[in-house]
């Protein structure tokens, strides 16, 4: 089931690849009422413990597949479904320390039945949550 918050507590952990901690990851759910084609996702901004993450360090994992922000804009036949949280991966060698961390997320998307001037504006708020990381 989804937690009502955008940022989910489940799924927050350091990301291990070949026994090396290459970053951390957390899940967000789509706060919109309908799924988005990946190309509708226009931008995401993340802060961790108050510090902004660079866009090039962010990947989206949707239905088990990883995408860089740049790759999303060409994909018009796969949806981010409303019941499937996306895992946000942040590249940072060594990951995060055990303990609580403040995560902030804001993402925007287009919606073609709304006036075009809303394309870079449509958002369901800036989301913030304190999450506990074990490892």
């Amino acid at each position: 089931m989804l937690e009502k918050e955008c940022i989910q507590s489940r799924g927050f952990k350091n990301t291990v690849v070949d026994q090396e901690v290459v970053g951390f990851q957390f899940d967000i759910r789509l706060m919109y009422y309908r799924g988005l084609w990946l190309s509708q996702i226009r931008s995401i901004h993340i802060k961790v413990d108050g510090e902004a993450v660079r866009l090039e360090d962010i990947s989206w994992e949707i239905n088990g597949k990883l995408y860089k922000q740049d790759e999303l804009k060409e994909i018009g036949d796969i949806q981010w479904n409303v019941l499937e949280p996306a895992s946000i991966h942040v590249n940072v060698l060594g990951g995060l320390t055990t303990g609580y961390h403040d995560i902030e997320v804001d993402y925007r998307f287009s919606s073609s039945y709304m006036p075009p001037n809303m394309d870079e504006v449509l958002s369901y708020g800036n989301h913030k949550r304190k999450l506990l990381l074990v490892s």
Partner: protein, 291 residues
């Protein structure tokens, strides 16, 4: 007075708690409990792996319909014209997008579609090639036995260029596969202040509304109505939309089809609130329809 108007509910009404405290089964049970006989789903919301739909999901859907005594009333889908940044979908791409949903809607048993078109301005004027791709899709709609209905929703009014264009198109093509979905937001008479919206609710700017009587000449093109409601009070009355007049008009002019309860009021994210509001709304419809 005898009539053939039926009660339905849109699964959209529960969107703020979907996946959090209600799944599709819960939504269908809630609707079943009201005695409504039809359900609207939104393809992009309620089909879990949309656009993929497996045979297993389709089988399960039909079993659920039987179990909860519901029939498919309307299928919501979108022509996502600004799918790619910087350009609009071509006519061919738009038809392909329509056809994908026609197939799915057909497999799920839907005959009426709420077809949302991309818009180009603040008054929600549809994309300039809408005639081309709708015309191009009419044969496919017939093949899959589905009727495309753009939704007429505030701030749109009935006496407008948009409605004129749609009617002209329908008459020129002499088609029954393109019609209208009327969302009762266009008849709102009461002030939004009566609704009690919160600061996180999305509200359009104040706008002009239509008179209920203006609907009469259009009824022959209306395949479905969104019985939009913003707040039902404890006496089972909607506080801003003139339901008594609307329903009497529909009955008097022998309109037939589904009135689909669509909740879009405040506190929709509060567990149980939308369910209670939908039940109140269905009680009102039942009282006004006499069944």
């Amino acid at each position: 007075m005898e009539h053939k108007i039926k009660r339905g509910v849109s699964a959209y009404s529960y969107n703020k708690v979907f996946g959090v405290s209600m799944d599709l089964d819960d939504i269908m049970q809630d609707i079943c409990d009201t005695g409504a006989t039809g359900i609207e789903i939104l393809a992009n919301s309620h089909i879990v792996k949309y656009p993929d739909v497996t045979d297993a999901w389709i089988d399960d859907w039909h079993q659920k319909l039987t179990h909860f005594k519901l029939e498919p009333a309307e299928y919501g889908h979108w022509v996502e014209s600004r799918l790619y940044k910087g350009r609009e979908l071509t006519t061919k791409e738009s038809i392909a997008m329509l056809e994908r949903d026609f197939k799915t809607a057909n497999k799920l048993g839907f005959k009426v579609l709420r077809t949302k078109l991309g818009v180009i301005d603040d008054t929600l004027t549809p994309v300039s090639n809408w005639r081309e791709f709708i015309k191009g899709a009419l044969g496919l709609a017939e093949k899959y036995d589905v009727r495309m209905c753009p939704e007429i929703h505030s701030p749109t009014i009935l006496d407008s260029r948009m409605i004129h264009d749609y009617v002209e198109f329908i008459e020129k093509e002499n088609t029954e596969f393109f019609g209208l979905n009327i969302d009762f937001s266009i008849f709102q008479t009461g002030d939004n202040a009566l609704v009690g919206f919160g600061e996180n609710d999305f509200l359009g700017p104040p706008c002009e509304h239509s008179k209920v009587e203006e609907l009469v000449p259009l009824l022959k093109y209306v395949y479905c109505c969104h019985a939009k409601f913003l707040r039902m009070d404890e006496n089972f009355r909607e506080v801003v939309i003139p339901y008594e007049e609307i329903i009497q008009t529909l009955i008097k002019h022998n309109w037939e089809g589904y009135l689909i309860s669509e909740y879009e009021g405040a506190k929709a994210e509060v567990t149980g609130h939308a369910s209670d509001q939908v039940k109140r709304h269905q009680i009102m419809l039942k009282n006004l329809l006499g069944k």
